[in-house]
């Protein structure tokens, strides 16, 4: 006992040293390596004149046709279809609007644009770190840059956008060159004299990169120093590591909306942060409509955040009202709403308020998974691994309700599996309450996952004190699941002027896609059961194949991208090793063949329901494909699948703390590589 305080102080000393070393190393690496060009080619900003007075600069403006992307074409079709439905509902005749800027040629759609070509011949070669282009535009315009040296093209792969709201687009070039050609494609003509062009190569240490390096070194130190915690307090390691990585994501991504339907979640959470009186500032309205300007580097970020703060003025906010009663499925946004509320009441900037909302989500996710890991019996590592999956960490650091769903379902499944692993132990009221509440909360916004709770119907009679308890428990589980599924088709009426539209099943269907109809699709399925079964099985097998062998990376950071396939294989191998082999000296037991079969059946059934729900609500009636299904929808099923491999036969040579080091090491490294390559380099350099 006397050694304990000494050990504590020793650890504090270790961490103090690690922190000093980490900060020093990070600053040195940043200044000497990353800022090397700024030191080596020190120069003041070069302002180029495009009004014709500068011999080095030539400007040419001409007409051009720009081919629309498939996404742009789909977006036009979706908007037209939704307008048609609205007109039909209002009993009006739908007239398709004519867009004079669109041209159809050879079966392809083009938009008429203006092409502004700026040719720059520098007197002396210089290092172009950034190219700062300012131009007043009504609609955002894209531009590309080709840089040359000695008449030879050295980089033709530079693209940037002039954001209409900030009238600026700052491109990362990082080339030593003596000439460049900039091509701007804009909807309206830009007068050459209105364009401001600046070449930048200033010494500016990057705060995000420094923070990244410090946290990377700190996490490495934790995995080396914390032997005891890695052995029996893995939930604390999870909490610290997850918080650090989540913080990097939140700070790095800022107000860029790069998560799945983030604007929808942002709007719901923002509304929930108010009482009955809503106040939507211009920035909040843009956030809710996915219209906030994006940034790709710190210079653009400063401009975007200044714009957001100017437009976050509550003195001219849009005032509205909402029901004092919150819809049940909306409550999943409370962790984020608290952040919005605090930020608003502390009169913080818009970006900081959004970050607080994301921190609310992150902390809540960490809290629930913390308890899931703590309560897991002899399979804590696998729960920690699932908690640290890049998809989960990313979503926890975004505006999304998925972290709440995933964390509560993880907790619920841990409790169910604990009961399965100890068949003789009686079901306590605390566990009963916790399991059912976990599913009730976790399934509030995605009720179909409640099917997973039906596993409890197969608990043996030894788990109960008597027959009455057993039957009432099982009936209660069945009724809870039934009520949640019933609510999908017959939701309790809520307040809102769109009540009669949203409660009208004739118009039910996801309005992000053309030709959706819940009733129409259900009729189609019942009319063609064989065709649909083949489609379902083909789709399920196809997705599994693509994720395992088809080159589609499973670990995704939303719209930022996915990790390569090798990451999937490494994590699968680590997970299999964790569940197949017990730690040295650890006593384990399997769940038994009947439960394995039941779990596999449950996973298949839940997956089929997930696929079918997307076919019914999100896919065009009668389509030969199922749209909108994403790998993340199956994350709640990972834990039950993993425990099927638990057994008492194999034992690893490694002790628990070393196993934890591998698990946390692999997951931390994977996340940090993704953060660096997708967040730091794409938005913060």
């Amino acid at each position: 006992m006397q050694n304990h305080p000494n050990r504590k102080w020793k650890n504090v000393l270790y961490y103090a040293i690690v922190l000093i070393v980490a900060v020093t190393v990070a600053f040195l690496v940043e200044c000497l390596i990353f800022q090397f060009p700024a030191i080596r080619y020190k120069q003041n900003p070069i302002h180029l004149k495009t009004d014709g007075s500068d011999q080095m600069v030539q400007v040419l403006v001409e007409d051009e046709l720009a081919e629309l992307t498939a996404e742009e074409i789909r977006s036009i079709e979706v908007e037209r279809d939704n307008n048609r439905i609205l007109a039909e509902y209002n009993g009006e005749e739908y007239v398709e609007p004519e867009d004079e800027t669109l041209v159809e040629k050879d079966g392809t759609m083009y938009r008429k644009v203006k092409k502004t070509t700026i040719s720059v011949e520098l007197l002396n070669p210089c290092y172009i770190h950034k190219l700062d282009l300012r131009a007043p535009v009504e609609e955002s315009a894209g531009y590309s840059v080709v840089v040359s040296k000695g008449g030879k093209e050295i980089n033709s792969d530079i693209y940037c956008t002039i954001e209409a709201k900030t009238d600026a687009g700052i491109a990362n070039v990082s080339e030593y060159a003596d000439a460049m050609e900039i091509v701007i494609l804009s909807e309206e003509e830009i007068a050459p004299e209105d364009i401001r062009l600046t070449i930048l190569n200033t010494f500016r240490p990057n705060a995000m990169r420094i923070a990244f390096m410090i946290l990377l070194l700190l996490m490495a130190a934790i995995l080396v120093i914390e032997k005891t915690a890695l052995h029996d307090k893995q939930e604390w390691i999870f909490a610290v590591v997850c918080f650090m990585m989540g913080s990097l994501l939140i700070c790095g991504i800022g107000t860029n909306q790069v998560s799945y339907d983030e604007y929808v979640h942002a709007k719901a959470a923002y509304k929930l942060s108010f009482g009955t009186r809503l106040e939507f500032t211009e920035s909040a309205l843009q956030m809710s409509g996915n219209l906030l300007p994006l940034f790709n580097n710190p210079e653009e970020r400063a401009l975007v955040e200044a714009y957001e703060n100017v437009n976050n003025d509550f003195s001219w906010a849009d005032i509205g009202s909402q029901s004092r009663f919150v819809r049940s499925e909306t409550r999943v946004y409370y962790p984020m709403a608290v952040g919005f509320w605090i930020g608003r009441n502390l009169q913080m900037g818009f970006a900081e308020t959004v970050a607080l909302a994301k921190f609310g989500n992150l902390l809540f996710y960490i809290l629930i998974v913390f308890f899931a890991i703590r309560l897991a019996v002899r399979y804590k590592n696998i729960v920690a691994l699932i908690g640290l999956l890049p998809n989960n960490v990313f979503l926890a650091a975004a505006l999304s309700y998925d972290p709440l769903v995933i964390s509560f379902l993880l907790l619920g499944m841990v409790l169910i599996i604990n009961e399965i692993l100890e068949p003789e132990r009686k079901l306590t009221w605390q566990n009963t309450l916790l399991i059912l509440l976990s599913f009730a909360i976790g399934c509030q916004s995605k009720p179909i996952y409640v099917v997973m709770a039906l596993l409890m119907l197969f608990y043996g009679k030894n788990k109960f004190e008597n027959r009455a308890q057993m039957w009432i428990f099982k009936v209660a589980v069945l009724v809870v699941a039934g009520l949640m599924v019933y609510n999908i088709f017959f939701p309790t009426p809520t307040a809102g002027s769109d009540y009669h539209l949203v409660s009208n099943i004739t118009y039910a269907g996801d309005k992000r896609n053309v030709g959706t109809s819940v009733m129409g699709q259900i009729e189609y399925i019942f009319g063609n059961p064989g065709v649909y079964t083949v489609l379902l099985l083909r789709s399920m097998g196809g997705m599994l194949g693509r994720y395992l062998f088809g080159g589609t990376g499973f670990f995704q950071y939303g719209y930022l991208g996915a990790a390569p396939m090798i990451a999937t294989y490494v994590v699968i191998l680590v997970a299999l090793w964790l569940v197949l082999f017990a730690a040295k000296g650890e006593k384990r037991r399997g769940i038994g063949i009947p439960y394995i079969l039941l779990i596999l059946l449950m996973i298949f059934g839940t997956s089929a329901i997930v696929w079918t729900s997307m076919y019914v609500s999100y896919t065009t009636v009668g389509a030969d494909e199922i749209r909108g299904v994403q790998g993340r929808y199956f994350i709640p099923m990972f834990l039950p699948f993993a425990v099927c491999f638990l057994n008492s036969k194999f034992e690893s040579r490694l002790e628990q703390h070393n196993r934890s080091r591998i698990v946390f090491g692999v997951m931390t490294l994977l996340n940090m590589i993704m953060i660096y390559s997708m967040v730091i380099t794409k938005m913060n350099v």
């Binding site: 009663f325 009221w429 509440l437 308890q469 309790t492 009426p493 002027s497 009669h500």
Partner: protein, 227 residues
């Protein structure tokens, strides 16, 4: 009190009590629904080439608005009243709802209150009867100069949900079809606690059963044995 608290604070007391509480909430949600207003936007904005029109109100010649409520009882209507810069201290807007030729709801709104241009919610008395093909008439009661009477806001939109008949038109508007700028107001019942109460009833029922009364009896017997 402390003893009572200690006695009640047992899982086998508190859990069934909570079950009953949520059961009462479940039943109560149906018995006492929360009624909310529904706004159906009918005609509030002009098309690009359209302009707003003022329909002057009078003592005798009503502005008539006809509609079908699609089987729902209509709770009221929201219209734009323009006071045209006059105080209208003694002016009341009288609006009656007719079912066939019978006035089933006569209502009065004091125009003096509110801004010069106001979009006000005009509720109907006896709204339960305002169902089906109804007709709403708008007149004024006033001792002011008729030239200063307020007007209702309208435009030239072609709407299918209601028909506006107004004999008093501004100059140049005689031949043009006009449409009252308005929202239809209905209501519906909501059940804010129904979802939670019905779910939690069964959650706490299951938890209550896990308290295991027979086991408790055995424990009590075991406790009793030594004495």
């Amino acid at each position: 009190m402390k003893r009572l608290k200690q006695k009640l604070w047992k899982p086998y007391i508190i859990l069934p009590m909570l079950t009953l509480f949520f059961l009462a909430g479940f039943i109560g949600s149906y018995v006492f629904p929360n009624t909310v207003l529904d706004t159906f936007v009918i005609n509030m904005e002009e098309e690009e080439d359209d302009t707003e029109v003022l329909l002057p109100l009078s003592l005798q010649e009503p502005i008539v608005y006809e509609l079908n409520t699609n089987g729902l009882p209509m709770r009221g209507i929201q219209v734009g009243i323009n006071k045209r810069g006059y105080a209208q201290e003694t002016t009341n807007l009288v609006y009656c709802v007719y079912l066939g030729e019978e006035c089933i709801s006569r209502n009065v709104y004091g125009v003096a209150a509110g801004d010069d241009l106001q979009y006000v919610y005009l509720p109907f008395e006896n709204y339960e009867a305002c169902v089906g093909d109804i007709k709403i008439t708008f007149l004024v009661e006033s001792s002011e100069d008729p030239e200063t009477y307020p007007a209702l806001m309208a435009n030239h939109a072609d709407i299918s949900h209601g028909k506006t008949i107004a004999s008093n038109r501004p100059e140049g508007e005689e031949t043009t079809q006009v449409a009252l700028k308005c929202n239809h107001i209905y209501t519906h019942n909501t059940y804010p606690f129904l979802y939670d109460c019905r779910l939690l009833t069964f959650v706490f029922l299951a938890a209550s059963m896990a308290v295991a009364y027979p086991q408790r009896s055995r424990k009590e017997e075991n406790h009793a044995e030594p004495s």
